[in-house]
């Protein structure tokens, strides 16, 4: 009976074929939504089955599996799919190619389900490629627009390159380990991880899979396809930002035990993730186009996700991609309503903090304020350390936790900055809001992260942290943490007293050059245009 759950990837394909024969336009979304609800129900039943029986559902000769990872991701994708289909019902009504849109939407969801539920590298490769072509046809849905088609070309080129890298990695995996079955391979990789491994081919395979994941997840330098695809219909943007870009993280989770054997790949993942997170987030703040800004925001979040994987926090990456997906899909799907409201009220969009506390800038230097700054940066760290020490004894043995700690501190500081322009009179209210929001973030991250970790990887989870650790001493880690805190303090100080560091002109030039670098989106397109010009001249 439970084997029926494995039919989930086939249902959207069945819907797509059914839509070919439906003549009434109103019936197209109805059929699509009704049958997609079945997927959501099946997914939820599957999750219940996996949790209650503590087992996996394997079928089709071991090609498909509904395991712990699928139990989390399939209901998420199914519910997201339902919301997007419902939204698209009216949003796409007047567009040419209504039926085509729903057919393509079902195909892309089929490929995502197949990808999540595959237990075989060939099935994974097929789903990986199906995803590429479905995405291309959806991104270029507005076929009459030259820019949409031109930007879709970038999507296609990068995704095709990702397909090739992925296929080569699959071939090398088969040649090295002799199987395509992920269950067999994972067991083999886990067994191998208990003793030292000295095979450079494993590093090459891990690196190839990482590069393929980076390409699909818009990690720098392969990010250029994502910010320029905003001309696609809004539901497509929602699918892309909440579903498609996540496949890199899902792939690396599926191959987590392989990466145990190649810690260098994890370190590379950490570095590229960190660079993408910082650089994409900075560009997001500078670019003038709001849709491109959202694209860079997603690229930055994907950077965080890959960085978490690089730290060995595989399950945290899954949590991150789900939370980010819900958040970004909501942003895209709400944009229409917001635009409509903004036409009537020029003060929109309002900031939540403005509604909670009225704006009143603090004037002049204040010693009391600086004490507050110190207080609010130390307090989160102390709380975090306290909580983590209670939760796990051997926390500080792994450097990953130090970086997660710094990440949590950054989040806390960011929260503080967003509440910064509030009234002095409401300081107690601010204090409570800050502390409570920080504690909520911390506990959500920690408890859900740990629960997911336990659910997906069980006792093996700690192995990933061990593999990802940089082997830096605890004292060194604390020094690094202190450095991050001091930089953070300086940043906040210069934010509040901007004249302190403005001493000469040279620094301004540097700042201006840095701003130009960000505003030109890292000069990626200038380089491409220069190369094209050179080619044309030849």
């Amino acid at each position: 009976m439970e084997q029926i759950i494995l039919l989930i990837p086939g249902i959207p394909i069945f819907i797509a074929f059914l839509l070919l024969f439906i003549n009434k336009k109103e019936l197209i979304p109805k059929v699509s939504i009704m049958l997609s609800s079945m997927i959501a129900l099946l997914g939820l039943y599957g999750t219940y089955y996996v949790i209650s029986n503590d087992t996996q559902i394997i079928g089709f000769d071991g090609l498909l599996v509904y395991n712990e990872l699928s139990a989390i991701l399939v209901p998420y994708v199914a519910i997201l799919g339902l919301v997007i289909r419902k939204y698209a019902t009216k949003y796409m009504w007047d567009e040419e190619g209504y039926r085509r849109f729903f057919i393509l939407l079902n195909f892309i969801f089929a490929s995502i389900y197949l990808f999540v539920m595959s237990n075989n590298l060939i099935v994974l490769a097929l789903a990986w490629q199906l995803l590429s072509i479905s995405l291309y046809l959806l991104v270029s849905f507005n076929v009459g627009s030259n820019t949409a088609v031109k930007n879709a070309k970038w999507v296609m080129i990068i995704h095709k390159a990702a397909d090739l890298v992925f296929i080569i990695a699959v071939i090398l995996t088969y040649q090295t380990f002799g199987s395509f079955d992920l269950t067999i391979l994972s067991e083999k990789w886990l067994a191998m991880s208990h003793q030292p491994v000295d095979n450079p081919m494993i590093f090459v395979i891990g690196l190839l899979f990482l590069i393929a994941a980076m390409m699909k997840s818009a990690i720098m330098p392969f990010h250029i396809w994502l910010p320029y695809t905003s001309e696609a219909p809004t539901p497509v943007s929602a699918v892309m930002h909440a579903g498609v870009v996540n496949v890199g993280g899902i792939l690396l989770n599926k191959l987590a035990f392989l990466l145990l054997l190649a810690p260098a790949v994890l370190h590379i993942a950490f570095v590229v993730g960190l660079v993408t997170a910082i650089f994409a987030s900075l560009i997001m703040l500078v670019v003038s186009d709001i849709k491109r800004s959202l694209g860079y925001s997603t690229a930055g979040q994907m950077g965080y996700m890959i960085m978490e994987i690089g730290l060995g926090a595989f399950s945290l990456a899954i949590y991150h991609l789900i939370v980010h997906g819900i958040f970004k899909a909501t942003l895209f799907l709400e944009s229409g309503v917001l635009i409509k409201l903004a036409r009537h009220d020029s003060n929109l969009p309002k900031r939540l903090t403005y509604e909670l506390f009225w704006e009143e800038k603090i004037k002049g230097k204040s010693k009391k304020l600086f004490k507050y700054l110190a207080f609010f940066t130390i307090l989160p760290v102390v709380t975090f350390v306290g909580v983590k020490m209670i939760l796990t004894d051997d926390f500080f043995e792994l450097n990953a936790s130090i970086i997660i700690l710094a990440f949590a501190w950054l989040t806390g500081t960011q929260l503080f900055l967003s509440f910064f322009k509030v009234s002095k009179d409401e300081s107690f209210k601010v204090l409570i809001a800050l502390i409570s929001s920080f504690v909520i973030i911390l506990f959500t991250y920690e408890f859900i992260g740990l629960s997911l970790e336990h659910f997906i990887y069980g006792e093996n989870a700690v192995l990933f942290y061990e593999a990802a650790t940089f082997n830096i001493t605890t004292i060194m880690s604390f020094i690094m943490l202190s450095a991050i805190m001091i930089v953070g303090w300086l940043f906040m100080y210069t934010q509040h007293f901007p004249k302190v560091f403005k001493t000469d002109k040279k620094q301004d030039n540097l700042q201006w050059s840095f701003y130009k670098l960000l505003a030109k989106e890292g000069y990626f397109f200038n380089i491409i245009k220069a190369l094209q010009r050179k080619k044309n001249d030849l």
Partner: protein, 243 residues
Amino acid sequence: MIYNILFLILVAGMPYYLILEKIPAIKSKHIFLLSAFALLSSMMLSFYIPNEHKTSLVIISLLNSVYTLYRATKTTNFYKLSYYFIFVNSPFFVLYEGETSLYSLSLLLSLSGLYLIGQFYEKNYGSANYRYITGITLVRPYIGSYLTLYLISVALYPPFPNSLFFLQYILGSESNPLWFAVVITLFFGNFFLSMGVMKRTLFGRPNPNIHYVHMTIKEKVPHILIIGMLLLFSLYGLKEILL
């Protein structure tokens, strides 16, 4: 050796460029039919005369493939494009001689579809040239769908059989630099050509100076049959590659 050369003459494009394209009486649609027949003949030959390929011949066919790619980017004619696709894939036929019969068949099926679309264009728009007939997806969605499916198939995307058989052969073979060169050339060559055609036919605004014609049911039937056969091949390909 003689057999290898014969094989190369049958599947690679150079002889066609040097001789057949120079003869005014022979039109591009005849060249497609001839090259398709030659490919089928080479398949039959390879069944009866088992032979090991020579590395030099693979290199020659690879160079020929790259040259064909260059020529194919210059054309906007469906007939020419159809036989160019055969020649682009020639290194694969030479490299996996005798084993690629299913890939060859599925490629020929997809190209037959393109050829039929070319015939439809010739009948209704005066020639098989698609240069100004843009935005097909918007104005004639059925023709757009057929063309999309053929081009996706040729561009080596699943679930179409070309991709499945291509994957099956490369998964089961030993890799070396020449192998990588052939696989990468074909993987991207077929893709870029197909995407170029998509851009110039399926996408873009419909041309207001052209009266876009619908396909009759009689004209649709061969396309439906071809797509049906491609899907049957896909099922077989999936069975072969997965089980």
